[in-house]
Symmetry: C2
Subunit: 227 residues, 2 copies
DNA sequence: GATGATTTGTACGTATGTATA
DNA sequence: ATATACATACGTACAAATCAT
């Protein structure tokens, strides 16, 4: 008899499920999706009660989230969803631009033919979504586009660090930010990146990605000013 | 009456000392210094007994170290000092070269005059240590040199990520690796970096740093082969 | 500024999962 | 393959620190 809670695909490695792990993933998701807004207090007992567990796994999950930067913990003073000052926000955008630029540069020279084809395919699907005017799905597939570049660097550490930086910025993005004009421009910038990567032009890929993230921050900043 | 355990300098913020924090710093130090070698088992009870505390703060410290990559934890199977495969080791070196290159590039255009002077001063002290033939102190001040560049980027996130990468590689460096020939070459490469930073030449600084870390890995690889 | 309420930090016992015979 | 030994994962109680009054 098989484990009824096991994964559908038996090929996926089955790490023994721990409450801490479940909580970490669940809380990270709620923070990234915005259900738990920046600054919101994360009371250990309240969370424990909400998930029907003791404080211990809640504590461990919060510590791990703090290590990733999504949560802020001060001794004896509890945990809150991480809040970013304007300066820190800018700093993270600059860091993300540089990190993604490095990934794109390495990807240009390291990606396998299959990976290049896959990236091109995602890029074409994004074009269709611009034409269809579907910001929601564009946003989702856009994540895949960037993740494909991270993985294309063939450097797990850089990919991890870059993704972590992106995740930290997620809670500060809002749906309203995804306008159709932005989508079209985003797609055109992606085009520069993809072309450079496909012709294995490291420096061009790096520069195109840096510029791309730069305009993302600009658009983001314009939205922030509207608050 | 003042806290007898307080810091000498009252201006330094005094984070309430917690056993978890102490343990984390102590264990990280022992791992980085090599007292706890990669692959060594980190038994919660043994460590708790050694430090005279309960298992709880030990657990939390180990989790945090795992988050930083210095420790590896598998559910229900305990923790060990992180071991790196040859491939992973190379990957971390490539990542470090890229990260430090980014920091150097940003530092070239962001450092204040004071920071530039301080970097130059460290550089000159390193020159003296090469002449004096003091690998131990060169190694220590070399850390300061690189840290100064990280901080010079004026980007806390990048500095943090880059430093974390360097720390993860520390346990795999050995004293024997620091030969006099290496020192001299290291100093000359630093010279290229410093010159580029001082004349605010971003690309040159970036390239010089990337090359520098590249030779560090080469020298490191030669040592590894001797094992 | 002292006191009480509240929350976190730590200790320790039990349950559960992993590895070995 | 089953059982046994062992270390970890979790729960619970208490101590210590913070903040509110």
């Amino acid at each position: 008899m098989t484990d009824p809670d096991g994964p559908a695909d038996p090929l996926l490695e089955r790490r023994s499920r721990t409450r801490t792990e479940d909580l970490r993933l669940q809380l990270a998701d709620e923070i990234v999706r915005g259900d738990l807004a920046p600054g919101m207090a994360l009371d250990e007992m309240r969370i424990a009660a909400r998930f029907g567990v003791s404080r211990t796994p809640v504590r461990e999950a919060l510590r791990q989230l703090a290590a990733s930067g999504l949560v802020e913990i001060r001794p004896h003073r509890g945990a809150v969803v991480a809040r970013l000052s304007t300066e820190k926000l800018h700093e993270l955008f600059v860091a993300m631009a540089e990190l993604e630029a490095v990934c794109a540069g390495l990807a240009a020279v390291a990606m396998t033919p299959n990976e290049r084809r896959a990236l091109e395919e995602i890029h074409e699907l994004l074009r269709d979504l611009v034409r269809a005017g579907d910001p929601q799905r564009y946003h989702e597939l856009n994540e895949s586009f960037h993740t494909a570049v991270y993985l294309g660097s063939h450097n797990g550490h850089l990919a991890e660090v870059t993704l972590a930086t992106r995740v930290r910025l997620q809670p500060f993005r809002r749906a309203q930010f995804r306008t159709l004009g932005r989508l079209s421009r985003s797609y055109m910038e992606h085009d520069d990146i993809v072309r450079a990567i496909l012709r294995a032009d490291r420096d061009a890929a790096s520069l195109a990605m840096r510029d791309h993230i730069g305009t993302v921050e600009t658009a983001f900043g314009e939205y922030i000013d509207m608050l």
